[in-house]
Amino acid sequence: MEIWRLPISASQRGKLISAGYTTLSSLSSISSSDLARESKVSESEALDILKFASHSHSGGSEMSSGNCSIFEGAQNAWDMLHEEESLVHITTSSADLDNILGGGIHCKEVTEIGGVPGIGKTQLGIQIAVNVQIPHGFGGLGGKAIYIDTEGSFMVERALQIAEACIGDMSEYNRFIRKDFQACEIRMQPKDILGNIFYFRICSYTEQIALINYLDKFISEHKDVKVVVVDSVTFHFRQDFDDMALRTRVLSGMALKLMKLAKKFSLAVVLLNQVTTKHTEGSFQLALALGDSWSHTCTNRIVLYWNGNERYAYIDKSPSLRSASAAYSVTPRGIRNSSSSCKRIRMM
């Protein structure tokens, strides 16, 4: 009888047993007021009993800081702050863009990036898939990437170009800054970078759902995957569905699984989205596809757009970053800072 193990008085124990609570599990899902009423103890006593019961039930193994948590499975904000600060971000290779992103693409979060055709979504996706592999010595994650291609826009030659440029940049950095540190020599070759990108080609929304379900097992077997890029998440959901309500449910289910993946394996999820026209306030405007309910599901949302002759990125939604836009450019070496002299970061 597990009740004996609880550090409560004999009379309290006797009252619990006569009310029928003999095991710890029976105490796990009851509220303190119900317990007080049924076993005829006072509210505060009932609270104490439940605290002891939950503490010995979980064994206190989940708490990272050592002190027992009041709510099982929850983490307090202070501990979370330490965790968040220690997470490395994935750089986009454009310092301005990294700036407004707070360092880069965040791990443990789902970031949605959308824009008109030709603005550079796939380019950014490929750049992120390459940059996640930057070794720890250069401030990167040293991880692998999963690239889920739903439209066939992934070009290996472009990925090779970007990989070569990335290694070129790392060598430059080595030469200028780390002159004395021979240890961090670059042994990576562009082909190695390509070898660390796991490429999946999806041809229907069924395959997309199946793959996202399967990713849990896949990433458990390939623990160094640190980013999942889906290019684009929209394509197969724009045409095959007649039942819009079903589409919304399926999409939210998918978003939830991706969020869980991000949190469980501490990786970043980047979803590329397309653009559609929306009729609001009497005029047609551009908006990201998949509807209003989808726009709630992602943690962060970045919109890429044209402003004059420049490409800009705008933080449309983020829990921790302020709305700002920054210019970037697509060069033969990949995504880089915009070369225009009159660029400015505009804060809202």
């Binding site: 008109v116 990108i197 379900n213 005029s283 757009y305 002759n309 420049e310 505009r346």
Partner: protein
């Protein structure tokens, strides 16, 4: 893979029976429902639903490949690593070898600019043997507007590759590889597409040309958004056809005038410009392309094509611009049409900034048409 039968997937007998009893026979049916819906429908617990779904997902999910093995595979098995050279040196260099296999390449431009001429040249090139830069295979040319001229095709062949086309049997052989379909309605087109998919590989079809995509819907009496939705099945089908057969697919598109209530901005762009205006006193003009022509078929189509080549005329000179490409910077090449087809006037492309690459001009065009007619006679 999506239509895999549940019965073929090794699930525990009990749950397989329940799936069958509830009429969920394909993987698609099972995966389209949320976990909760499946629990209610099948009356089983969450853990069983989850394990069944994970088994189904594992089987239906496509296999992976590293980008490296993808590249090696393409370079080993495919012609020039998966590119079809157009014969226009500057363009081929920009596109890393030529028109990519397995994806849609769009040619868009105003009437009479040379889209069909380009398609004729490409069809001819594709039929040639590989030592002449061709794909040595058959070409399917879907000619919606009845613009295909076999006389012009043979003229191009004669002028560009006289050593082959001067011999009647060889000319016959090459021209015999190009199959022209003339669907008179959208439904006929749909049927033709389905037939093509079935017989593509065994008939050694190496390229598909659709001239033009926009003409298919202009006949149907629907406007705007409905018109785009009409084509959405076809877009998806053609893409998957290109994908699994790994052939280049070239599609032409028309232009239309931009209507005034055309969506050109996001909602936050107004905020940003107002904020800048009130703070700095700078007035930012909304991003509007100065030409009044845009590609037809809408934004959904624009997302679906991988490479967009814009053909336009500016101040009497024709340009072919790489407006959207995963690999090429935004370059414009001047070109002209001769008796041997399209040829570039310069292999060095001009790099264009900003959304200018997407705009479609039609200036000084009429003179060129007359000029061309005269030169062909």
């Amino acid at each position: 893979m999506a239509n895999k039968m549940i019965s073929e997937i090794p699930l525990p007998k009990s749950i397989a029976n329940v799936f069958a009893a509830r009429n969920i026979s394909t993987a698609k049916d099972a995966l389209s429902l949320t976990e909760f819906e499946l629990m209610e429908l099948l009356d089983v617990g969450l853990t069983e639903v989850r394990s069944a779904l994970s088994q189904i997902s594992e089987i239906v999910a496509p296999p992976y490949q590293t980008a490296l093995s993808l590249m090696e595979q393409r370079f080993q098995n495919e012609h020039l690593g998966g590119h079809f050279p157009t014969g226009l040196k500057g363009l081929d260099a920009a596109l890393c070898g030529g028109i990519p296999f397995g994806v849609l390449t769009e040619l868009v431009g105003p009437a009479g600019i040379g889209k069909t001429q380009f398609c004729l040249k490409l069809s001819l090139l594709a039929s040639l043997p590989t030592n002449y830069g061709g794909l040595d295979g058959r070409v399917i040319y879907i000619d919606v507007e009845s613009k295909f001229s076999s006389r012009r095709l043979l003229e191009i062949g004669l002028r560009s590759f006289p050593e082959i086309f001067q011999m009647k049997e060889m000319a016959q052989e090459m021209a015999g590889r190009i199959f022209v379909l003339r669907p008179s309605s959208l439904s006929e087109f749909t049927q033709s597409l389905q037939q093509i998919k079935v017989s593509l590989l065994q008939n050694q079809v190496k390229m598909l040309v659709i001239d033009s995509m926009a003409a298919l819907v202009s006949g149907e009496h629907e406007q705007g958004v409905r018109r785009q939705q009409t084509l959405s099945w076809h877009i998806s089908f053609i893409k998957s056809l290109a994908e699994f057969s790994r052939i280049p697919v070239v599609v032409t598109n028309q232009v239309r005038s931009q209507s005034h209530d055309e969506a050109s901005q996001y909602s936050f762009q107004e905020y940003l410009s107002c904020a800048a205006q009130s703070r700095d006193g700078i007035v930012e003009t909304p991003t509007r392309y100065d030409s009044h022509l845009v590609a037809a078929l809408g934004i959904h189509w624009a997302h679906a094509v991988t490479t967009r080549l814009v053909l336009e005329a500016k101040s009497g000179q024709r340009f072919i611009k790489v407006a959207k490409s995963p690999i090429s910077p935004p370059l414009a090449f001047p070109f002209h049409i001769t008796s041997s087809g399209i040829s570039l006037l310069s292999d060095e492309g001009m790099e264009l900034m900003g959304p200018e690459i997407n705009s479609i001009h039609c200036q000084g065009h009429n003179e060129i048409i007359n000029f061309r007619m005269e030169s062909l006679v």
